[in-house]
């Protein structure tokens, strides 16, 4: 039996739940999943500006809290916070540990960066057009799997830092390492994958992103605890959370998380396996204890997916509010005016009425008149200066638009787009890079 905790479900996730798990969870492994699709492209840009950076911006904050506890409780950490620079992250963590006088070995996985392998005429999975048609490429990272992480575990490293790997693989790797599963044992790998999938979003299986007052109540969401799994040698796992933490784990929260972001429940593809989630069984053993078992798998794909980041220009946005009698009518007049003023430069101009139809892009014909409406306009341009025009025109509604507009705001952001492509496994070479903290005595010498 091994116990694996999930201490982060995205880059900006809360810090405390991981600390609690490391302190009180009696964990063997703590996993921090911090890398969304676009995160790595943005990290690549930071690395271009400063070659020492390009890892997760919260790396130091998280590790400062966790390092002493992980070391004291002998919990191994596995994380993809390396982002665009796993070796840089490993160096930073070793340096932090040296300062704290904590002896640790850090292993970084490299090989996911495949920008040099992407040919301009490479077809995208989205629409089969060549990647070069999208714009200037910023990054390309293949989703690595268990095979790339296993060698780091074999070095005995305390902390394992990766760049792009499939999220569930972060959890399956310690299972394979501990139980000695064959990578061809598709059912065990599939079962491990479903456990990883249930854990990878941190608090989401514990009632995070679930509550709907009166319908789906969750106790003490403010102190939401994060999950851990006790995994048996056949991959069957019991998912639970710490006593005294908020949230709840139930069949309903587990079902929502099982299906979350799954495009084909019959074939959930990772670099390790094709898992059939329709074979999974969930059983509520007790309050906040769910058993997961039975997942069947098929052989892993021959190709790996790579996410390609490209420069997609700039997005300009502006917002202004109207409230009281005929708020929506005045906002709509403002929208019409902006459309007329901007349509030639921004053929794809997006005009939304916040409080009425902005979030779902429709209100399904609900005729209610809102007390207040916020007009929001967005569009894209090649340059920052051109994109700024949108916010400027929104602001100009103060003196050039309908009555009673207030609270205008304007924003311009650089846009990094992501498309996907497939790469043959054989083209990808991964490696392990070890960094160790310097012992105090050595520093004195």
């Amino acid at each position: 039996m091994i116990r694996i905790g999930s201490g982060a479900g995205f880059s900006g996730d809360r810090l405390e739940p991981a600390v609690l798990l490391a302190e009180q969870g009696n964990l063997d492994y703590l996993v921090l999943e911090c890398l969304a699709e676009r995160t790595i492209a943005l990290a690549q840009k930071r690395k271009l500006n400063n070659p020492l950076l390009g890892y997760d911006p919260l790396l130091e904050k998280r590790l400062e809290l966790l390092l002493p506890i992980l070391s004291k409780n002998k919990v191994r950490l596995i994380t993809n916070m390396g982002a665009a620079n796993p070796v840089g992250a490993a160096e930073k963590v070793a340096e932090m540990a040296s300062k704290l006088g904590i002896p640790i070995k850090v292993a970084a996985v490299t090989g996911d960066d495949v920008l040099a392998l992407i040919r301009p005429n490479e077809k995208t999975l989205e629409d089969q057009t060549p990647v070069s048609a999208y714009g200037q490429l910023l990054s390309a990272n293949a989703y690595l799997g268990v095979e790339a992480i296993l060698p780091t575990l074999e070095t005995g490293a305390d902390i394992i830092i990766t760049g792009r790997v499939a999220d569930p693989s972060l959890f399956v790797a310690p299972m394979v390492h501990h139980f000695g599963w064959s990578l061809d044992d598709v059912d065990r790998i599939a079962q491990g994958t479903v456990v990883g999938h249930l854990l990878e979003c941190g608090g989401q299986i514990c009632g995070g992103y679930f509550a709907d007052p009166g319908k789906k109540d969750v106790t003490d969401l403010a102190h939401l605890g994060f999950p851990y799994a006790d995994v048996a040698s056949d991959g069957t796992a019991v998912i639970s959370k710490l006593e005294g933490t908020g949230g709840k784990i139930s069949l309903a929260t587990a079902k929502e998380q099982l299906l979350y972001e799954v495009t084909n429940p019959n074939a959930y593809l990772t670099p390790d396996v094709s898992a059939d989630f329709t074979t999974v069984r969930l059983k509520e053993l007790a309050a906040n204890r769910i058993e997961v078992s039975g997942c069947k798998g098929q052989a892993k794909p021959n190709t790996l997916k790579a996410s390609v980041g490209y420069h997609a220009g700039f997005q300009g946005e502006g917002e202004i509010s109207y409230a009281g009698p005929n708020a929506l009518g005045r906002a709509q007049l403002a929208g019409d005016i902006l459309h007329e003023r901007l349509k030639d430069e921004f053929p794809e101009l997006r005009i939304d009425y916040i409080g009425s139809s902005s979030v779902h892009r429709t209100n399904f014909g609900t005729p209610e008149e809102p007390y207040e409406t916020r007009l929001r306009v967005a569009g894209k341009a090649k340059t920052k200066e051109a994109a700024e025009k949108i916010g400027e025109e929104v602001e100009a509604l103060y003196t050039n638009g309908p009555a009673g507009g207030g609270g205008a705001r304007k924003y311009t952001n650089e846009v990094v787009g992501i498309v996907s492509t497939l790469i043959p496994r054989s083209n990808i070479k991964t490696s392990v890079n070890i960094r160790e903290s310097v012992k105090h005595e050595e520093k004195i010498i």
Binding site: F210, E256, R361
Partner: protein, 103 residues
């Protein structure tokens, strides 16, 4: 009698590129058959016609008495380049739950 799916089921939305993924999970597993009959891919497509441009595939997951609706061309290009307020389409689970069925 008409009932909103909201009264019978819960849902979470996810995204992959320009594809919107919506689960539909009855509170009472006994309602699985009712939803299988009433919440078809066609009906959901009709309900979400202003949101989903592509086709919708419904997967049945009877082991956990749930459905998955995979909606193509639904997110104005997808999270990274969409001009939408909710670029992920995360709020759209409740657009599905607003659908009415005859029971």
């Amino acid at each position: 009698m008409k009932k909103k799916l909201y009264e019978l089921a819960h849902s979470r939305a996810g995204d992959k590129g320009n594809t919107l993924i919506l689960s539909l999970i009855p509170y009472d597993e006994k309602d699985y058959e009712l939803l299988r009959e009433k919440a078809t891919a066609e009906k959901v497509k009709e309900h979400l016609t202003e949101i989903v441009d592509g086709n919708i595939i419904r997967y049945e997951v009877p082991n956990i008495s749930a459905f998955q609706f995979v909606c193509h061309h639904a997110l104005l290009g997808g999270v990274t380049t969409s001009l939408s307020m909710d670029t992920h389409g995360k709020s759209l689970s409740y657009a599905l739950l607003g659908m009415e069925i005859e029971i």
